[in-house]
């Protein structure tokens, strides 16, 4: 059956600036906001935008990510007209194929896309926290008769030099692209969201492969090539909350912002829900000694201590007389008694033994890795 639109979520990156948080798992699989992993936002956007055919390109440490995404059923993507498909490196008659860049990853999966035979391909990153209706962007793309539409966001002028910046004419047509320019001519930063006419993009990718194999990255190669050929490239402005949680600091910040019940993301909005793979676990148990304020707690938690302005993901245990403030605790962490945690991120399944103090400073956020054990006598080999 012919599909109008296929979305490709590029989720293969390591996200090395997240340090030990992405040692064993890919960045899009990093937990967020108590009940989510980062990729849930892009997947939910697809589902809410009515795009049910989604390729999820994975490559780096994909076991947890693949398991999380499955066939997309948790996002309602397993309809008769689509589903989520994990796409990973593979070999063929032409040899072994790892993905060398964003555009190269799409090139390697041409067969997958061609099987769906879509008119449009939406290229997304699995790394960002935001809610966006891609269907509206697609409407815009059609209206403009664009061959490429780039999602952009106005950023403060002083920050513009940290982004890939799109210079547009009066009709919003993109006339120039500057990657991290010293003197930006525009404050429209690329969000890494692209809508392409598939047949056109495919031609570019195949031609490049036959020639010099230079089109490996969308920002660095494909957009400049499109500009050179005078393609109809338009900028689609997004105004709303959008966050790249690519560093420890931005991940912590985004979680602290997320705590605000008035947060622009409005996680409780029933009309644009953020779906996830919810674990089947027990209710939250707050004992007599618990003391919780301005915090998010998730099913499976057992809380006997004091929690202030923090997010506790599912199945976290906090012992008596422990105190957690301004922190983000990932799923299945076990925190003993008399523990003090401030301004920290505690990894999945970490074990903080009795009496330990983990306290960030005004400059730095403390991070405990996945399954890391802090304090106590360890009997493990």
């Amino acid at each position: 059956m012919k599909t109008e639109t296929v979305a490709m979520i590029l989720a293969g990156g390591q996200g090395s600036r997240l340090g030990k948080l992405t040692k064993q798992i890919a960045k899009p699989a990093v937990p967020f906001g108590g009940n989510y992993r980062i990729i849930d936002f892009a997947l939910s956007n697809c589902a809410n935008s009515g795009i049910n055919d989604v390729g999820v390109v994975t490559q780096y440490q994909p076991l947890i990510l693949n398991n999380h995404v499955g066939n997309g059923a948790n996002w309602g993507l397993n309809r008769h007209d689509g589903e989520a498909t994990i796409l990973q490196p593979y070999s063929s008659m032409e040899g072994e194929k790892f993905f060398k860049g964003t555009a190269h990853a799409v090139f390697q999966n041409i067969d997958f896309i061609d099987n769906k035979d879509p008119e449009y391909v939406v290229i997304l990153s699995g790394d960002h926290i935001y809610k966006m209706d891609y269907q509206k962007m697609l409407d815009y793309h059609k209206e403009q008769e664009a061959t490429l539409t780039v999602g952009v966001m106005p950023v403060p002028w002083e920050d513009a030099s940290r982004f890939g910046v799109m210079n547009t004419d009066k009709t919003d047509r993109i006339v120039e692209f500057q990657e991290k320019p010293e003197n930006p001519k525009s404050n429209l930063a690329s969000m890494g969201i692209y809508i392409f006419n598939w047949s056109r993009l495919k031609k570019y990718l195949v031609d490049s492969q036959a020639k010099d194999r230079q089109l490996t990255d969308f920002g660095h190669h494909v957009i400049p090539a499109y500009l050179r050929n005078n393609e109809a490239i338009y900028a689609y402005s997004f105004e709303g909350y959008w966050k790249d949680v690519g560093t420890i600091e931005s991940l912590w910040n985004a979680n602290m912002e997320f705590l605000d019940p008035e947060h622009e993301l409005n996680i409780r909005d029933r009309k644009w829900r953020v779906y996830s793979n919810n674990p089947n676990t027990t209710p939250q148990f707050l004992t007599e000694s618990a003391n919780v304020s301005n915090s998010m707690i998730t099913d499976g938690c057992y809380i006997a201590g004091e929690i202030e302005h923090s997010i506790l993901s599912h199945s976290v245990k906090v012992g008596k007389n422990s105190y957690i403030k301004n922190s983000f605790i990932m799923p299945n962490a076990v925190i003993g008694e008399n523990v003090k945690i401030e301004k920290a991120i505690i990894g999945e399944g970490a074990h903080i033994h009795d009496g330990v103090e983990i306290i960030g400073t005004s400059d730095t956020i403390e991070v405990v890795g996945y399954d890391e054990e802090v304090g106590g006598y360890s009997d493990e080999k």
Binding site: G33, G34, N35, N74, L259, P261, I267, R268, R273, V274, Y275, S276, N278, N280, T282, P283, Q284, F285, L286, T287, E288, A290, N291, V292, S293, N294, S295, M296, I297, T298, D299, I307, I311, L312, S313
Partner: protein, 392 residues
């Protein structure tokens, strides 16, 4: 591949004393413990054994149950390769629907076909009103080791743990073999001096052939296919019946008071752990949800919550289901608040059960007692003036 079991869940259970909570749902669909329904417990226990397919006998439309169970995939009961959940609506009445005949299932035939077509070697009978978490693999091993014709699960309880007029039964064991069941009595018929009893938990395992023989008897005598009746038929036939002792958490859900108590029991860590963490993980239909938010001024003391709540008030000894909001200044004690309920400012609730989607207006006060908690029906609105606008 070995020891496959065909479970039959008898969900046509008496629910009179649980009204109004059971006005529109069977006992099996009663919400419990912030995020479960009673049916989740027997269903979850099935994950411990090899179940190719399960049969449910319900009465009436079973809408709330269907909606919860769907394909059974939550409990691994959905299978594209034969099997799955077969539901039989047992409408025990002469039904005439304007001109067209009603497609009533045939009670005995449905049992017969389910069991004989299943590729299981054993049949398991259970219900949903004995809240517990039984390890069926261990029951199975016991049954095999004893080379029993029939094995029935029981628990030693005090007389006071069930109603005086309970409809359930107490088992009697052989004097020579304390594991062998030789009879049973209605609990209501026990003399006042009998303080301890062996409660028949109405969970039975037996091989397919034996079951089909007992089913034949039930059909011949036009009796229901209940554990009690099958024990009687087995005794009549001199079959060996062994009792398997269950020592975990148990509550017989037979009236509002026991239902209330069962929920409150979970606020005790020992009970909570016994029910949820000692045997099979308890699985329920997954719901998409956001974490629960506890506001700056919230005060929580010994309480359980599901996801998706917003809590700004005081909550003590309470069990709070999904999507409940509790406003600042509100106080909820010793209560069960079901899904979608909304509690406004300065409300005071004590010993109250709010069914789903109840709206408690600013300043309203409701106070029941532990023996007689106030039950507010689904969709009701409660005003500060003491008026209740009934939801049904």
């Amino acid at each position: 591949m070995r020891n496959k079991v065909a479970p039959i869940l008898n969900l046509v259970e008496n629910s009179d004393k649980l009204k109004p909570l059971t006005n529109r749902r069977p006992v099996a669909a009663l919400p419990f413990g912030c995020r479960y329904r009673l049916i989740d417990f027997p269903f979850s226990s099935l994950t411990g054994i090899e179940v190719p397919s399960a049969a449910l006998f319900i009465s009436g439309s079973g809408h709330s149950l269907y909606d919860h169970i769907r394909s059974g995939s939550t409990w691994g009961l959905e299978s594209r390769v034969g099997g799955g959940v077969f539901t039989h609506s047992h409408i025990n009445l002469k039904a005439e629907l304007e001109g067209t005949e009603l497609y009533t299932g045939n009670y005995y035939d449905d049992h017969y076909h389910f069991v004989s077509r299943s590729n299981a070697e054993y049949v398991l009978l259970m219900g949903s009103n004995m809240l517990s978490n039984v390890q069926l693999d261990s029951l199975m091993r016991f049954h095999l080791k004893k080379e029993s014709d029939v094995t029935v699960v029981y628990k030693k309880i005090k007389r006071g743990e069930v109603r005086k007029d309970s409809i359930h039964t107490s088992l009697s064991m052989s004097e020579s073999d304390s594991e062998r069941i030789v009879g049973f009595n209605s609990i209501a018929d026990l003399t006042d001096t009998e303080n301890a009893l062996l409660l028949n938990m109405e969970i039975m395992i037996l091989d397919k052939e034996t079951f089909l023989k007992l089913l034949y008897k039930a059909r011949k005598q036009q009796k229901d296919v209940t554990v009690k009746n099958l024990i009687q038929f087995s005794l009549d036939d001199d079959k060996t019946i062994f009792g398997y002792e269950y020592t975990g958490y148990l509550k017989v859900i037979e009236d509002i008071s026991s239902y209330f108590q069962a929920n409150m029991d979970m606020l005790n860590e020992d009970n909570f752990n016994a029910l949820f963490y000692r045997a099979n993980p308890v699985l329920t239909k997954p719901k998409n949800s956001a974490p629960t938010y506890y506001g700056e001024q919230s005060e929580i003391n010994n309480a359980q919550f599901a996801n998706d709540c917003e809590v700004y008030g005081k909550v003590q000894n309470a069990v709070i289901f999904r999507k409940v909001s509790i406003a600042e200044g509100a106080q909820v004690e010793n209560s069960i608040i079901m899904q979608d309920s909304c509690i406004e400012e300065d409300v005071y609730l004590n010993h109250v059960i709010l069914d789903k989607h109840v709206y408690v207006k600013k300043g309203a006060r409701l106070e029941g007692t532990i023996e007689n908690p106030i039950v507010v029906a689904k969709d009701s609105i409660i005003y500060a003036e003491g008026d209740i606008e009934k939801g049904e």
